[in-house]
Symmetry: C2
Subunit: 154 residues, 2 copies
DNA sequence: TGTATTAATGAAAATGATTTTCATTAACTT
DNA sequence: AAGTTAATGAAAATCATTTTCATTAATACA
């Protein structure tokens, strides 16, 4: 069985058993640029590994999230989407989301300016509302290139 | 039948028929400070109007959203929540969301600073990704006062 | 290198929010 | 006041996700 990612990520110590599904799902995630839904991962795997069930995909994604390997993003089309955490995107949750097809695009621009404002806001809000702030989200919603055309450019 | 809100909001022209469920649901929304889920609205109505079904609540919320009277916010607990659009909150979608109970708090602080950054970012992103930006969301996720205590303040 | 242990899997059923269907009711038109 | 048809409510359908449980297989250990 391929141990590609197991060695690569030093997972052995953190996960009970390193299995084929976990290996292949991590592989799909690292191959893909964008954010994939559970169903999309299941479909991508189906031709090469028809045995892997959707249940396992969900369970594995939840495991990876717990381990901090991936980030889960709620998409307005109802399916959650997941992306591998990399050095670049670590700590950033800034997205461009298409309301029509659910596609999610990361952006890095203005990250510094945003971060400054976010930190300032965070501190003030935590105090004012006695809230323990653990995370934040900044997202822009609209229509992606493809869907603008499909929708007759509105 | 009470026509309270029908007159108040000048709805008659915009909606086909003004009905009791629509009237009462709008009433609940305008009475409530926070963001209510469909189920919460249904429950709030149950004692005084046991006849009104959950289906109608959903349909009415969708109508109100189409008309621009309310704003729908996705909550991480899985249920969408809705708030009446008022003069103050119009154009702002800035929320403090509790990951444990789903409670949503609006905030206005830093709205001006945020808006400036948002506009700048929006323009640049729209151009770079050929995206038609229709809306944005800024949210802070964490634990509300009550849930911090329930969770032993972590 | 087998073999036992038990974590991980997959199929099917369960869940929970939301949507659809369809026969009935009632708001508005005339 | 009566007809038209939009709106309703109950039940069924959907859809993403979770749970259950019997089976499989990764690791430990003899």
């Amino acid at each position: 069985m391929p141990r590609r990612h197991c060695a690569r990520h030093g997972l052995r110590e953190q996960v009970g058993r390193w299995t084929e599904p976990r290996d292949v799902i991590l592989d799909v995630l690292s191959r893909s640029k964008g954010h994939l839904s559970a169903k999309e991962i299941y479909d991508a795997l189906y031709s090469s590994h028809p045995g892997i069930g959707l249940t396992t995909v969900y369970r594995t994604l939840e495991l990876f999230r717990r381990l901090g390997f991936i980030q889960k993003v709620a998409s307005p089309d109802g399916q959650a989407r997941y992306e591998l955490r990399t050095e670049e995107n670590k700590g950033h949750h800034h997205h461009l989301i298409c309301l029509r097809c659910g596609k999610i695009i990361d952006y890095q621009d203005f990250a510094d300016e945003e971060l400054e404002l976010v930190k300032k806001t965070e501190k003030a809000l935590a105090q004012k509302h006695n809230f323990l702030i653990l995370d934040h989200n900044i997202e822009f919603l609209g229509l992606c290139d493809k869907c603008r055309q499909a929708a007759g450019d509105i």
